[in-house]
Subunit: 357 residues, 2 copies
């Protein structure tokens, strides 16, 4: 048994863990162990939005263009692709890309190919929406959690040396109790990770077409919480579709439609796809929260999430091929970017952003 | 808004609260504010046990004798009476009595009338079981929580000056999140309140008739969690009987029958009665746990308790006459007494106690 917080990220505590050193979790769970040289990661979500089904081929082409840029110099170490229908019944194709070298990400983003395409006037006239929501949490600002031990998705897939997959921890101590998510984030040793400011529209007008930039704030929490059933047998598929998915869908729909009052800025329950848009047997949720405490309060008190949790507790020790995981981060305002082109005003961070005073 | 921890019980923390100072609970809850001179309380459970219905009149007479001794010099400030059928289908009449002066309790317990009766050989030959389970938590070792603001039951009924009812706090900060129970106990500021020893039978043999004494250990946690519907209108009665009670009963039955593996030494869901044994419209649960962390883990992960919790969250703000409350304590081994006469071996602390090595 070992702490979820890797040895090089331990520091003298000013805040205590929720549970004592004698705590023993009820079943095994694991975290990704990364290259100790990694100081900061980049988690970048790139979206293409379209309302009408007839726009799908064009949207897919634009999406494929974005994915093509990942192969340019200094591109991401890995990426995966998704589709979802959002709170306004618009379709969204989204690619998430991961870097463990912020400087490489910066060079990539500023390259003529990438920056030129995003900044081009043509983007305004295509009848498509585009967005990029990018966070760069430091190594002490995120945690992972897996009910399996290899071939990690998401950030865990790139944290090894030279961008390989992470290694796996031993069984970790900090899970199986409310508050363990916070306890796994190294910054929690000394920092409440609170939000003290609001989202602000610093450029553009969400109610109109065109470009919009939203300024984030310190400690926005982002969770990617995933389910992969591609290798699952019939029993585990039934478990997922009959027992887990209904509560999960209810909870995700609730957050998508009622998140604002809970401190959930955005919630997208997405289905993984291949580059041609075909659905894969994987899904995940991407939730943006005002701060970790808002996510905690929802997770530990909302009936839908408690049902998910109870089911998870009941079945987790017996899972074989059904893969459940999450990654949760906070980040500094200066390490966040939320930009939109021609997206509807309820997209992403725009919905809850205040107009610039 | 104020801390559940009264000003005179605050101390410099070595352990942090689970939530930051910015936390705001989702609905109002209150705690008892006692006389600051109170240093230690006594919570004493006196039981009469009988298997056969035909013994009821005799058991009731013995029970009434015990209650009569409460009127002797140095007797308790208050008491209330209950009945329950236990894990072996035995009937149990139980009186709980409260003191806020341990010295007075001590004089009462050692008085000829009280000690003489308990120690008399006649107790061994009446075909009845007797037990007394007594804890004396210091003022920093317990907390209360009420969804109402007056006429507190239990310990809150005696903590005022000269044994009057307590006054009520303002709305408190530490509730509405898992871990708030711990955060309301003043000792949690500096102490994990862990259990490091086991229950031990130090005298007698539970498998045989006669007297048995079980030695407790530091930080046994005791919860009294109650429901009073005597003044509730039809709507709140329906709420209690149709929505709250079924889950509550399931959870309490589960703990009664499967508690050992969860760290629950004893769980009694009792119905309040008058001195003649007639049922009142009040019930509560008395649970003894190895330590607070075991109670926390059960409460925050067991489906029955999560259902109770979700229902409570949903209805609490609208409660008018349905009264829901609890009191939770830990205590030192030296401030615990667990004694049994002719009780079945699954009674109270006997079930999980080890034989003396």
């Amino acid at each position: 048994m070992e702490s979820a917080i890797d040895t090089h990220l331990k520091c003298p505590r000013t805040l205590s863990r929720r549970v004592s050193e004698d705590y023993t979790p009820p079943f095994p769970m694991f975290v990704a162990r990364g290259d100790k040289a990694i100081q900061q990661t980049v988690m970048a979500y790139f979206g293409v939005q379209f309302e009408d089904e007839s726009k799908r081929p064009q949207a897919l082409a634009a999406f494929q263009h974005i994915i093509g840029t990942f192969s340019l110099a200094d591109g991401p170490l890995s990426h995966d692709l998704t589709h979802h229908v959002d709170n306004q019944d618009h379709h969204n194709l989204m690619a998430v890309a991961y870097w463990t070298d912020p400087a490489a990400y910066c060079r990539w983003l500023r390259s003529d190919d990438v920056n030129g395409w995003w900044s081009a006037d043509e983007r305004l006239d295509e009848g498509l929406g585009y967005f990029r929501e990018i966070i760069a949490p430091r190594a002490d600002q995120f945690e992972t959690l897996y009910a399996f031990t290899e071939d990690f998705p998401g950030i865990g897939g790139v944290m090894g040396e030279r961008g390989t997959g992470s290694t796996v921890s031993g069984e970790i101590e900090e899970h199986g109790y409310w508050g363990s998510m916070r306890d796994r984030i190294p910054a929690s040793q000394v920092d409440w990770m609170e939000a003290t400011e609001d989202l602000v529209v610093v450029s553009g007008d969400p109610s109109k077409d065109g470009r919009v930039i939203v300024r984030g704030h310190d400690n926005i929490a982002v969770i990617r919480s995933g389910q992969e059933w591609s290798a699952a047998g019939e029993e585990e598929r039934n478990l997922f579709f009959d027992e887990i998915l209904p509560s999960l869908q209810d909870g995700m729909d609730f957050l998508r439609d009622n998140g604002a009052e809970m401190g959930c800025y955005s919630n997208r329950f997405v289905r993984s796809i291949d580059i041609d848009g075909n659905e894969l047997d994987e899904s995940y949720n991407i939730g943006h929260w005002r701060a970790l405490d808002k996510l905690e309060r929802w997770a530990e008190s909302h009936p839908t999430h408690l049902r998910i949790f109870v089911t998870f507790f009941r079945v987790v020790a017996g899972l074989e091929k059904l893969r459940l995981y999450h990654e949760v981060s906070v980040s500094d305002a200066k390490d966040q970017m939320f930009e939109y082109i021609n997206c509807h005003p309820q997209t992403g961070m725009m919905r809850d952003a205040q107009a610039l005073a």
